[in-house]
């Protein structure tokens, strides 16, 4: 199952694509990432991640929504696929089940 593994950055991007619903395209994803995680990936890095996610079948895309500031060029919108959703669920389950096993000790003095 090596190919369906999600990298940390990929996971974030996939989550954001899901949460943005119909308005998930590169710039909006970039802005959302910046707002939520305080990191500011280059447009190249973001496209690279989106490209990988699409290849792995986690997201699908269509074109549309040209605007003036883009010089009349179209955007590529992304949607999360059922397969992508399943992958996120798996990751979430894995995480939360592991989290439950943490002993309930308070780390005071931190």
């Amino acid at each position: 199952m090596k190919h369906t593994q999600l990298g940390e950055f990929e996971e974030l991007v996939l989550l954001i694509v899901g949460s943005l619903h119909d308005n998930a395209y590169s710039i909006s994803i970039k802005n959302e990432l910046k707002e939520k995680t305080k990191r500011n990936p280059s447009i190249g890095a973001l496209h690279s991640a989106l490209n990988r996610l699409e290849k792995k079948g986690f997201i699908s895309s269509h074109e549309g929504g040209a605007t003036a500031e883009r010089g009349g060029r179209r955007k590529r919108f992304y949607q999360i696929t059922a397969f992508g959703r399943k992958a996120l669920d798996q990751v979430y389950e894995l995480r939360s089940s592991l989290y439950q096993t943490l002993p309930n000790v308070s780390y005071a003095g931190e």
Binding site: S26, I27, S42, I43, G44, H47, E63, R70, G71, K75
Partner: protein, 880 residues
């Protein structure tokens, strides 16, 4: 910033680059993305920052999945990875040589980048106006038989008459005027701040129709429309009003004229050929001239700029100026007058007229700097080639192994070229770091304000990348061929190869040193010429002379009073008043001497009594102006020797010759002074007329400075006595002065700049050349360790080893020296011929340059020779 649409557009080149490498499939989306990002950023950041981020975005998009060709098989990529690894290992393995190599090239590149920045800035002068290709300055050539003036300024009525007569061809005219005064007084009475300002101009209200200077506050249409309006620059607003809003405030001009601030200008860009701090509306002048403008066509104090209509050519327009001159100029001078157009973009580098607003630069210096940049780059590249080739021998085994494993020649060549390009780019990055470090100092030296971000301009950015690729290719080419042509069996059998390509390398080293020696000789001669210009006896004494600007001040009424008060001090020897800075420039007047049919323009200098004694100018015949002879003021003239010679008189004949001035005043020559340099030593000494002018009104136009000879050992006391005398007659005016010799040295600023730049760069050039020599010596030593070992066993002395090892290099330097002599002599002689007063080329700069090169390279090589002689031969001989 003009043209809003354009300024919102991202830089063109990276955009094209994206189109070049990006696959069709992704192009539309990606381009849309970067455009959108750019639009967002330009709204909140400065333009350069948005541009920078745009570049970074595009570079960040260089990812395998967007590339056009998918033909790059994993195999070739792996191969390049391997090349990179080998390059890295090689670099680390031979740290010293690779380091020398990279640093040498980095220094060379840094020099070149700096000089390119300088040249780029010099060429950018006055190009920031949107109409700059149609703006011309009209200039006046007023000469008869080579004597007269070539003036940058024109009579008052010329501008309006041009507009009136050629309405269809002239789009706009603007005149500048400053009373021909070095400084004018301004004051903010409310804050009690007053200064003498050097950069005040009166300008027509059409100022903004012609030029694109930025107005921060106020309205371009109306700012200069009313009399008594003034525009001030941002820094002057700070100086006079600190943090207050200057709009609507009042400044007092010359103590009697109130000016209303109607606008704030951005400071003059550093690449404009003149600098202003204040622009006063032209109509304010009417008050000074009885309600109108001066109507004379003789006096020419107005710098006049015109914009031609788009379809009007320069030659076409100039052709109409001859009838124009005949129509307007007075009869007695119109034959001697020619009006010409000077493109504004050419003024900074090509114009050397009389009465320039400020001194200009010289295109010659741009050429010289360019040549120096090329020289330094050649030296550095030669180093690079030399060291790479020399290192090649170390790689012989690697080549042998690669070949026997089936590497094709072309693959080896591309490997070595790849290595060389990688190393070049490492040097390039180092060079940019060096430039970033020294740019502030360089800006100070050259009086510019170029930001580092200039390197992001497309021309520079791609120029740098191109240069990196070019040098890498060129430098890698030769070693690549040498290396790839090694015979496989031979290199695998013998651990050492005979040094190949030595002859080629000899040629390179020789040319490197020839260039270094030429640069050193050049530096000596430039320094010497500068020294000569500044220190050669100019025929008058400029030491301990204090100049006080007095034009347009009430000094006229108080001159005698001031003179008497000042001369009571024992520290003040003598005092006079003059028209211009002595030794810098003169004005022109029309005189008709005995034997002439018609009056001719002669350089003329208005003075007061005691001029010749204050300036220490000897008289060769006749007498100086005498206080006790009343008629001296109008009926007497003093001339110089050259004038006497040009009239074909003998010195003794000259005294008593008659002259006519303005066809009415008829007088006699009463004295002849020895020739002195009344203009800078760029010009030969021309005929000169010294005329006495004692009218108090002369201080409005003809007398600009009081010149005072003081006791050089008591400067402080003399100055405070002078100030006291000043305050006693003009208590309300600020006391300002400068020393004559300091100001005269400024006339040679362009030569000073040239000499400091050549000095710095020739030191760097020889440094880089020595780095190369050091590297080469190391290799030649390594190849001969065994030989030296054997010789030592047989009893060679240290001195003999020195001779053995340095012999070859010394020979090369000797050849370089011989080659450089005629080249240096010829080019420097050409340069010196541009000066009216020049030094002869002596032998010593050549000998000293040769010796310096010889000694420095001797030191470099002998370090190795010494090391070689101290190696125990047992160590070098045991591996057999």
């Amino acid at each position: 910033m003009q043209g809003n649409d354009h300024s919102k557009h991202p830089p063109r080149w990276p955009d094209k680059f994206l189109g070049w490498f990006c696959h069709e499939e992704h192009l539309e989306i990606l381009r849309g993305d970067v455009y959108e990002l750019y639009a967002e950023r330009i709204a909140e950041h400065r333009k350069w920052k948005a541009n920078l981020l745009f570049y970074l975005d595009i570079i960040g998009l260089c990812r395998p999945f967007v590339f056009k060709q998918k033909s790059q098989t994993p195999n070739t990529i792996a191969m390049f990875k391997n090349y990179l690894k080998v390059t890295y290992r090689n670099f680390v393995n031979q740290k010293v040589y690779s380091g020398l190599n990279a640093i040498g090239l980095a220094i060379g590149l840094a020099c070149t980048i700096l000089i390119c920045i300088y040249i780029n800035d010099e060429l950018s002068f006055d190009k920031f106006h949107s109409k700059s290709d149609r703006i011309y300055r009209v200039v006046e050539k007023f000469e008869s038989e080579g004597v007269g003036e070539h003036s940058a300024s024109l009579p008052f009525p010329t501008g309006p008459a041009l507009k009136n007569d050629f309405e269809r061809q002239v789009e706009g005219v603007v005149r500048f005027f400053n009373f021909q005064s070095p400084t004018l007084a301004l004051a903010n009475k409310v804050a009690d701040k007053g200064f003498n300002e050097p950069n005040i101009f009166f300008a027509d209200s059409t100022f903004f129709n012609v030029f694109d200077f930025e107005l921060i506050a106020g309205d371009k249409q109306s700012a200069l429309a009313e009399p008594n309006s003034v525009l001030i620059t941002r820094s002057m607003a700070k100086k006079y009003f600190t943090d207050e809003d200057p709009m609507g405030k009042t400044l007092e001009f010359q103590g009697n004229h109130h000016l209303l601030v109607t606008g704030v200008l951005e400071d003059t860009p550093k690449n404009a050929h003149f600098k202003f701090d204040f622009i006063v509306s032209f109509s304010s002048l009417k008050k000074n001239y009885g309600g109108g403008y001066p109507t004379t066509w003789y006096w020419n104090p107005c710098w006049t700029y015109i914009v031609l209509e788009e379809n009007t050519g320069k030659e076409e327009f100039e052709a109409q100026l001859e009838p124009f001159v005949l129509k307007y100029f007075p009869d007695f001078i119109k034959e001697d007058i020619e009006l010409q157009l000077q493109p504004i973009e050419d003024i900074h580098l090509h114009s050397k007229l009389d009465y320039e607003i400020t001194g200009n630069s010289d295109i010659k210096n741009v050429y010289i700097f360019g040549l120096v940049a090329i020289f330094v780059l050649i030296i550095a590249s030669i180093n690079f080639i030399n060291l790479s080739t020399a290192r090649a021998n170390k790689r012989a085994k690697e080549v042998g192994v690669r070949k026997s494993l089936g590497s094709a020649k072309s693959q080896l060549i591309s490997q070595f070229i790849f290595e060389s390009i990688v190393l070049t780019f490492v040097s390039l990055i180092l060079a940019i770091a060096i430039v970033a470090l020294v740019l502030p100092a360089f800006n100070q030296l050259t009086e510019k304000a170029v930001p580092l971000s200039i390197l992001l301009e497309p021309a520079f950015f791609f120029g740098l990348i191109g240069a990196g690729l070019g040098i890498g290719l060129l430098a890698g080419f030769y070693p690549a061929f040498v290396l790839s042509s090694f015979k496989t069996i031979l290199v695998l059998k013998n651990s050492h190869l005979k040094t190949s390509g030595l002859n080629f390398r000899r040629v390179l080293v020789t040319s490197q040193f020839a260039i270094s020696i030429m640069l050193i000789i050049g530096t000596f001669i430039v320094l010497n010429q500068l020294n000569y210009l500044q220190n050669k006896d100019a025929g008058f004494s400029d030491e301990d002379v204090v100049m006080i600007p007095v034009l347009q001040s009430p000094m006229g009424q108080h001159y005698e009073n001031f003179k008497n008060t000042a001369l009571q001090s024992t520290h003040i020897h003598s005092l006079t008043a003059v028209e211009e800075i002595v030794g810098a420039k003169s004005q022109v007047g029309n005189y008709k001497f005995e034997g002439m049919e018609q009056s001719k323009p002669f350089p003329r200098f208005n003075v007061r009594h005691d001029f010749t004694s204050t300036m220490n100018i000897p008289l060769v015949a006749g007498r100086a102006y005498d206080q006790s002879i009343q008629t001296d003021d109008s009926l007497a003239l003093i001339v110089n020797e050259t004038l006497v010679k040009s009239m074909n008189w003998s010195i003794d004949e000259a005294v008593g010759k008659r002259f006519e001035y303005r066809g009415e005043m008829k007088g006699q020559i009463v004295g002849v002074v020895k020739d002195y340099n009344f203009a800078s030593k760029h010009h030969p000494i021309a005929p000169l007329v010294l005329t006495l002018n004692t009218r108090p009104g002369a201080f409005n136009l003809f007398i600009k400075y009081v010149a005072v000879k003081i006791d050089g050992t008591q400067v402080q006391n003399a100055l405070s006595d002078l100030e006291q005398a000043w305050v006693s007659v003009l208590p309300q005016r600020p006391f300002d002065f400068f020393f004559l010799d300091d100001r005269l040295n400024d006339s040679y600023k362009s030569e000073q700049k040239l000499s400091s730049v050549t000095l710095i760069f020739s030191i760097l050039a020889i440094l880089v050349a020595c780095l190369g020599l050091f590297g080469l010596a190391t290799f030649s030593l390594e190849q001969r360790t065994k030989e030296i070992g054997v010789r030592k066993v047989l009893g060679i002395s240290t001195a003999q080893i020195m001779v053995l090892l340095s012999k070859e290099f010394m020979f090369l330097i000797a050849v370089a020296f011989i080659i450089s002599i005629p080249l240096a002599y010829y080019s420097l002689n050409e340069w010196l011929n541009g000066f009216a007063f020049r030094i002869g080329i002596e032998v010593w700069p050549f000998i000293v340059a040769g010796l310096i090169t010889f000694i420095i390279s001797m030191l470099t090589v002998s370090y190795h020779a010494y090391r070689a002689s101290s190696i125990n031969p047992a160590n070098t001989l045991k591996y057999e």
